[in-house]
């Protein structure tokens, strides 16, 4: 279980909204803080690591939660710069 400093709810939004919302939200964090992004779009599993790699933040983890009717994914991003 990863402790997040800030949480972002993107449930119900499809690509590219979770990434765009993340890129806006991360600006509010201080360096070293962790952002938790909750999404029910499965694309986040690949998109968030790709976004982190491109922009240079650290992807510290991904959790899957089985909730009816959809799975919820929680991506943890550590702001590095």
């Amino acid at each position: 279980m990863i402790q997040a400093d800030v949480k972002l709810d993107t449930l119900g939004y499809f690509c590219p909204m979770p990434i765009i919302m993340t890129s806006k939200k991360i600006k509010e964090l201080a360096v070293g803080q962790i952002l938790e992004v909750a999404s029910d779009d499965e694309g986040i599993k690949k998109d968030m690591p790709a976004w982190c790699q491109t922009i240079g933040h650290e992807m510290v983890g991904l959790e899957e939660e089985d909730t009816n009717p959809k799975k919820v994914y929680k991506a943890y991003v550590k702001k590095t710069k």
């Binding site: 590219p16 990434i19 765009i20 993340t22 890129s23 790709a50 976004w51 491109t54």
Partner: protein, 176 residues
């Protein structure tokens, strides 16, 4: 002569640090589905920190025209054409199953119900993220579209040289 050896990985990282990969997209189509794809790529790239330039030409100009604007040309042929080809980002037809507007209206409802952003919303997001938008002067002239009928914030008019100058440094250049 001074030669500094740099690890390829470090060199690449430094290069990416100083010069992020550029994206250019030519939007020729005025079909809602194609324009959506263009904006999804543009906003996604901008969110990834890549500089994005969108170049609107021909039917694509309808996206960045104010709603319902017609041609300001004086000759009757272009006037009639302008009457048939109205602008507006929420006025775009689907490339398939438009069915005189019925299909497109239904698709918009499905999108709204699923919290998917519409073309005008994607356009606004793109502008917020600093996507560079250029209108093609040639087709503006051809269709008799005047600059004041373009959306606020669209103030760059240019031609093929401007596009190519951007595209030659582009890591991703798309034509939609």
């Amino acid at each position: 002569m001074n030669v500094t050896n740099v690890e390829p990985v470090t060199a690449l990282a430094e290069l990416q640090e100083t010069k992020p990969a550029k994206v250019t997209i030519v939007v020729l189509s005025g079909d809602m589905d194609r324009v959506m794809a263009a904006f999804i790529i543009a906003t996604g790239a901008a969110a990834m920190g890549m500089p994005v330039t969108m170049f609107f030409t021909f039917w694509g100009l309808n996206v960045i025209r104010k709603k319902g604007t017609t041609s300001s040309a004086k000759d009757w042929l272009r006037k009639m054409f302008g009457f048939l080809n109205k602008g507006g980002a929420d006025n775009l037809p689907l490339s398939r199953f438009h069915f005189g507007g019925l299909g497109t209206t239904m698709m918009k409802k499905v999108m709204r119900d699923n919290r998917m952003p519409s073309v005008p919303e994607l356009l606004e997001t793109a502008q917020d993220l600093g996507v560079n938008m250029i209108a093609c002067t040639t087709t503006l002239g051809l269709m008799g579209i005047s600059k004041d009928t373009l959306l606020d914030g669209i103030d760059q008019l240019a031609g093929v040289s401007t596009y190519l100058a951007e595209a030659k440094d582009g890591a991703v250049n798309l034509f939609i």
